[in-house]
Subunit: 224 residues, 2 copies
DNA sequence: TGAATAGTGTCTTTCAGACAATATGCC
DNA sequence: GGCATATTGTCTGAAAGACACTATTCA
């Protein structure tokens, strides 16, 4: 802290949180967007978010905003980066702390919010024009997600409790936008020891049923 | 952004930046600390930092504070993480955006600041008690530095323009706290293509002089 | 020629990546 | 049996890690 600074002397910026909620739906990586119903950027799609209250932590603010706007609770949440260019919000100085959240398919149902606001999931490829610097935030978050896929078990945030190896592989392929060799993928993923066979198999399908696996660790292990 | 929020309605937090300036001196990894000369934590060592001005970007604030408190300019600077626990500052709500900076030995001279404040470099092992949550910030930054050493050329921020392979290896050993095999290290570092022999050698030493190397890329390449 | 540090090569193991045939369950 | 997907192993090349001797400069 600088020495001669009087906390009350200067204008203070506003601080917001914005959340990138990733999910996989219809074989696509998608994020949640909210259509703004006020200025600035009225009618433009934006990341869910809002101002940090004076008595709540940043993580709590992100959780609260996410819940208010999507009904999602208790999901993986990770701070990404803080964006603070002076003119990023035309109203006033707003510094935003961004977060990445991951949701499995069943964990959200939209319109649980009291507001009748528009909210929808969009494929990360082909997003509409976004408000503020949110496009930059999405780009940053995507990169982080792709990187973390390689050295963490972060993918568990996007999967149900039990899943087949083919489903797991598809998630990797969708996020990384690559084809992966099935044998090499299985060899590698099983050698990490992060998942284990549940002994149960898929049922009610017209072909050979796949083994269901679960993550040994129910929590995402942070190594970054 | 939430819909019904009036920007002026709630109290705003203060936003500060705190900077972790790493350097290597006397074979040790050290960071810059400033002794606080005001409350709270009067007389306690703390990271250099201060409040973000309403018209400056976060990066600019970090650069400014670093320069004011250490005289260091034009060095590598990277945003780390934003800490915002409600009670982390006993005065008022202060959210701090933290940065990591790297300086080679010759890039700083202390006491360039007008203030006659105490400032000194401390070994990262065996730091004094730190103000606020700065110990946590140091821990986080150290981890980031160690991780980045493995997959970036970040180490160039800590070295002079020309250096021997032994010096380079020592920096890795100091930061990672491990012994590295000399042959394997050279093989690996040369195979990355990041450095090249300058053709010059050390002079004025009483034994075989070492080749001096330089980084091909003068900028630290960010891949994270 | 002795002291001090620089510089160099081989072998082994591990991991990533290319590649195709067989197994199972249901209709 | 036919269909649809699940499951499995080998080979090759690259990189990591263990390991020890020779080379150069100056005093």
């Amino acid at each position: 802290m600088s020495n001669k600074y009087d906390v009350t002397q200067y204008d203070r910026p506003s601080v917001s949180v914005d959340v990138l909620l990733f999910t996989i739906e219809e074989g696509e990586l998608k994020i949640l967007l909210i259509k703004r119903n006020e200025e600035p950027f009225l009618g433009t799609w934006a990341l869910p978010g809002g101002f940090v209250r004076i008595e709540e932590s940043l993580d709590d603010a992100a959780k609260r905003e996410l819940f208010e706007e999507s009904g999602v609770k208790n999901i993986y949440l990770e701070q990404l980066f803080t964006f603070g260019a002076p003119k990023r919000d035309p109203r006033t100085r707003v510094i935003t702390v961004t977060y990445m959240a991951l949701a499995g398919k069943s964990e959200w149902k939209l319109s649980s919010s009291g507001d009748a606001q528009d909210a929808a999931f969009f494929k990360v490829d082909g997003l509409p024009k976004l408000a503020f610097d949110h496009a930059e935030i999405v780009k940053y978050g995507l990169e982080r997600l792709r990187n973390k896929l390689g050295y963490t078990n972060i993918v568990l945030g996007l999967l149900p409790g039990a899943f087949t190896l083919t489903e797991l592989q598809k998630v990797y392929e969708i996020i990384l936008k690559t084809k992966i060799d099935k044998r090499n993928f299985r060899k590698k993923i099983l050698s990490t020891g992060l998942i284990s066979a549940s002994g149960k198999k898929l049922e009610g399908i017209a072909h050979r049923p796949a083994m269901l696996y679960t993550f040994k660790n129910k929590k995402i292990v942070i190594t970054d």
